[in-house]
Each structure stands twice: as C-alpha cells, then as structure tokens.
Symmetry: none
Subunit: 196 residues, 4 copies
DNA sequence: GAGTAACCGAGACGGTACGTCACGTCTTCTG
DNA sequence: CAGAAGACGTGACGTACCGTCTCGGTTACTC
C-alpha cells in the first residue's frame, strides 16, 4: 500500500523560504553574522523547523549557496580541449563572482575542516558534478590526441578553485578577472598539444 | 633621550609561552576549539596578558603558526627555473604538511575574510616574503630566457597555495604528495622554455 | 434521536493506558520530567489521543494521581468525634504516603496557581468529596455536643493537607508519621469537648 | 597580606538590581512567566551576571522573595503563650499577604521538590529564623507552665504555613484572614493551659 | 630611594549564538 | 470520526566564548 511516509508532510515552502533567506543573509551580513535565528526570522519560520531539516548552520548555507541542481556551470565538452579549458576557468570565475559564494566560501571551508557532514556535502556537490564533467573533458582531449600531458581531474579542479579562493580572501576580491586570464593561458600551455 | 618606555616592561617569556601554547593547541584540538582561555591556561598566563599583545585570537594563532621570520621555505633561486619551480611547489608541500598549518589555515582564512587586521597580517607575512622571492625567481628565468610565458608572482602563489588548501579541506589531507607532483609537472610545462 | 455521537467512538483502552502510564511515570521520574511525549510512548498511544481527552499535561496527571472515584479515604463518621478526627488525619497520612501523590502534588499545586482548569479540577475532586465528608463529621460532633469550638471544614482540611504538603517538600518526606501523631493530638485537644 | 579575593570584585549594584527586578516580575507576571532573560532585561544586567551568582532561576526568586534578613516577622516572645501564638499566626498572615510571596510560593515549592539546592535554601531561611524563634516561644510557655501539651516547633510551623499555602492555591487567596482567626483560636485551645 | 607607569593574574561584565527540549496546535494518511 | 505520525511556532533553558573592564599587587625605569 506504500503508506506515503506517515505523518504530516514537511511544508516545502519552509525549505524554499529558508534557503532564500540564508542566501540573502550571507550576501548582506556575511557568513559569520548569518545566524540560524536570523535566517528563521527572515524566512518567517521557526528555528525548530530549520534544525529539523539541517543539522547545523553550515549545511543550510551550503545548500543555499550551492543549490546542487546545475551547481556548476555545466561544463559540456565542445570537442576542443583549448576551448574546454577556457570554459572551465570561466566557469570558476562566474561561480566565484557570485556574491553569496564569495561571502560564504571561506566560512564554509573552515567549518568543513571540522564537520564531516559538511565535507561530505562538498564532495557530493562539487565533486559529483564538476569532477565528472572535468573527467569527460580530459578524456576527450586524450582521445583526440590534444592532451600534452596527463593530469588528474581532481588536481585541475583544486588548482583552479583554490586559486580563486585564495586570491579572494588573501588578496582582493576585485582581481578575479586577471587571475582567470593568466590561469587560462597557463593551463593551455601546459595541457594542450602545440600541434593541435 | 628616548625614555625607554617608562613602566614595567613586558615579560618576553609570556610571548614565547603563548605562541607555543597556541601552536600546540591548534594541533591538538583544532582551530575552532582553540580558545584564548585555553591558550592562557596552557601558557600559564592570564588572558589579559594575551589581549595586551594581540587584539584577537586569530592574530595570536596566525603568529603562532606562521612565525614570520623565515616563514616560508626561503626559496632562493638556484639559477635554474625548472629547479626553482620544483622548489616552490616543494616548499608549499612542506608548509602544508605541518600539522598546525593544516589545522589553522581554514579557520584563519575564514576570519581573514571578516577581520581586516588578520588580512593585513597575512599579506605582510606570506606576501612580503614569498612574493618577493617568487618575483626574483621569475625575473631570473625571464632574464635567462628560460621563461616560456609570463605570469604574475601573485597568480603563481595563489595557484599553488590554493590548490593545497583546497585539496586539504575538501578532499583529503593525505593526498598532498601526488598533488605536488602533478603541480610541478604542470608548471614546468607551462612556464619553462622547452629548449632550456 | 440522539444519534449516539456519530463517528468512531473513542477507544476506552486508551484512557486506561494513559492514566496508568502517567501514574507510573510520575512515580519514577517525578512531575517535572513527566512529559506528554513520554506518557504517550509508555501507553503505546499517540500524543493526539491524549490531547483529545485532556487539555494539558497537568490535567492528565491530576486524574492519574487522584482517580476521582473514592479519591480520599472515604472518611465515614463513626459517631465519635475523637475517632473521626483520628481517621481524618490518618486518611491524609495514607494519601500523602502514596508515592505518586508525593511526587505530583507540588508540581500540581504550582500549575494550579496558573491554570484555572486545574484549580477547578482540584476543587471538584478534593473539595467535593473531602469537604462534604468533613462537614458531616463536624455536624455530627456538633449535634452530639462533642464539639468544643466551631471550625470550618475548609480550615480543617487546609490545615491538615497543608501540614503534610509542607513537611514533605520543605522538610523531609520520611517524617510524616510523627506529624500525623502530633496533628491528631492537637486537633483532639482543640476540638473535642473534654467531658465527652 | 590577605589579598582580598583576587580579581575584579562583583558589582553589588548588580545583585540589588537583579533581586528587585525578580521581585517585581514575580508580582507582575507570576512565577512561571518570570524568566532569567526577563529578569536580566529589567535589571539592566546580562544573563551571564545572573548565572554567575545563582545556579538557577528558582534560587534567584527565592532570595528575591525571602530576603533572608529579618525574613519572617521576628516573632519575639512576649512572655505570654496566648499572645505569642496569636503573633505567630499573624506573622504568617502578613507573610502570605505579600503579593510576591503568594505569586512565588507554589512554584518555589514545586522546584524545591526537584532541586536540592533550593530545598536547602528554604531550610536555611525559613528554618534558621522561624524555627529558632518558635522553639523559644514553646520553651517559654513550657517553663511558665502555660503549655497544655507539647508539640514540636516543626509541626507547628508546617501546620500554619501549610494551611495558608493550601488555602491560597487550592481555594482563594482572599480568604486568608478568616483562616488566620480560626487557626489562632484552634491553636490557643489546643496549646494553652486553660487555667493560664 | 621615592614615584610612577605599565605590567601581571584573577575574574566580573555585557553580548550573543549555540543546540536541545517541551509545550500545545495543526495536518496528513489509514482504518 | 479515531488514531498514529510527525511537522509547526513559541519560547526557555544553561553553556560557552568573545573582547572589555576593573581590581590588588608587582616590577622596573626615572627623577
């Protein structure tokens, strides 16, 4: 009979309101000052309702900032390694240009270092999508003989994302575009067979 | 006459004890659970004495983990770009292999995103040293005609440091060595003139 | 036509199970830690079923601890004031010797100070029974000329019950018997005509 | 050298403000709705400052309502048992006529049933004063041959206090005066030698 | 060698967030 | 409709850190 999950079902409007509120708050006041209390208030929802769905603030913000669906930039191979690498870096640039990502990322990283659930969420999100697509890009290049030297998808991803993150925090959030250009050039030289 | 700063001078043993205690605590319990209270207790010192020297916990830990003098690995140019780049990545590997760096880095980054003083400390430390040395390496390579394409010292630094940081947190702290190898290979291909 | 209360009738086993569970819980964990949730769990019943019958936790416990029928000790006049007063105090002693009464009474009193429905329940129970019987005792003594001086049934009741309650809470639950003896002696001297 | 309790001394104004605020709140909103948060707000003090002094709300309220100094009515023997007993009941009447006592008493009793520290506070307050004075009264009566039959100070105290408490909660707060009269008469008959 | 200014330890202070718990109500599905 | 399951808003709890402050008491320089 498939009892349909006994009990009163969760109100989906609560989920939406919370995630929107969290996203807005992170943009407006930053990660540290984004409180479960404040999220609840802005979403017009009780703190209880939030704790029922997410075990900690970090997980709420993570889901709010990386809505898992089409999380990254849907890097689809164009059949041209040079173009694909350019798209990769551009995707990261777009991602790190979103204000809520900039505001949330450092705090989320710090919490991830402590909270295994958040670390898991990161891997399930970033990895499952980006890594799979990145592997496709590299495989394509390898098959077409465009790949000058091999490199793991993980290294490629960490290199790009890490560079943006580090510049953002330790340097200046406004200098992301020059970084993207240098990074693109560097990756193409290193990875694309000159003859291609 | 340079009045010698009237009043009782600060006890230098306090500084040392605090920094040691902070370093140990970060290694043992992580950044988040390293509190000023615990640092003071372990150092056998009062909280007051700590706040007299550093304006906030993050600054204490920063100084404890990156002892400013000879902070990095003292990357000195060997007059060979390939060797210098290898040394650069190796230096980063050594740095991020220190347990206290691994434990403190994510938390410090998060605090730096909020606290301008900490951001300043980061730039004065990491940048002032590393960046200067890195520039020397690139300049040397450029002068000797070994440099295949130009790249800013900042981008190079952020790329390397960011990659280690990101892998550490979002991935697995134990896979740093493979990352270093791929990174080295990638940088050499991208930056060293093949004829060299 | 008096339709026999259309719809599914309430399951009487629920009532019994809830009251039993409440009585046991109060004895085992005390009034404060007796929650509706726990009562429901032990009774094998849903919280809904409880709230359908009683408007608040206090009312459940009240009914569980003072089962309204034959609530007190059924003080029936023996036609001898001295004996009746002795029986009165003894009845109170028996009542306050019941573990669930001891455990629940202070909490119920506190809630009664706030909740008018509970106050009402107290009066309908304790008063309606005890007061009526006590009045009969006093009337009998008065008619037989055994009553030395008049006193209201209410005062007599509050005096006895209050003394037990107070000693229990503020003093020691184990010293109830000596209290009963002194109380009996005191009441007889005060109320029974010496010639009788 | 008697270092005078190292550290910053507690601000006595905090104590006073908290106790006043607690007393007022109990009168205005009752015991149950008197929150540590509200006390702190009204006293213009942090919650922390309160928890530093008292381990729980109940202890704050207890001290606020029974200021220990001259807590009771300073029952001093007049050398006449009849008068002393009258004064005893009158003292209780005055005590239970204070609005904050009426409001707090039931809740305090309930908490005392659970919290040993509060029970201790009750005994140290009520007992240390009242019991000592009551014993003096009984001793005096006994020595002067005015005492008709012996009774313990504890029983006498619990009887009187309990009667007031019970009437207040289970009956009606306004019928305290008639209770006092009946109680006085009853005690005098029971305890004072008629020849006296 | 007397002042005095800054040190040191201890600990109180106001703030603020945390995550948990119980309350009593409401909503859905199943019998 | 009853009953079980469980979501919902409300609101208090006591704990923990933060960084500041206020004490009494201790050095070392300066005059």
């Amino acid at each position: 009979m498939k009892s349909g999950e006994a009990g009163r079902p969760r109100d989906p409007r609560v989920d939406a309101a919370v995630l929107t509120a969290a996203r807005e708050l992170v943009r407006e006041v930053g990660y540290a000052d984004t409180t479960v209390e404040k999220i609840a208030a802005r979403a017009g929802v009780s703190r209880t309702a939030i704790y029922r769905r997410w075990p900690a603030k970090a997980l709420v913000v993570h889901e709010a900032v990386f809505p898992s669906a089409s999380e990254q930039t849907h890097l689809e191979s164009r059949g041209d390694l040079r173009a694909d690498l350019t798209a990769l870096v551009h995707g990261a640039l777009v991602l790190f240009s979103r204000e809520e990502v900039r505001a949330a990322m450092p705090g989320l990283m710090a919490d991830a270092a402590v909270d295994a659930r958040l670390r898991r969420a990161f891997r399930d999100g970033m990895e499952a999508t980006a890594r799979r697509e990145l592997s496709a890009v590299l495989d394509g290049g390898r098959e077409r003989g465009e790949l000058r030297q091999d490199v793991s998808a993980g290294t490629l991803m960490h290199l790009v994302a890490g560079a943006f993150l580090f510049r953002m925090v330790a340097w200046a959030p406004e200098e992301l575009v020059p970084l993207a250009e240098e990074l693109t050039s560097l990756l193409i030289t290193a990875l694309v067979e000159p003859s291609a």
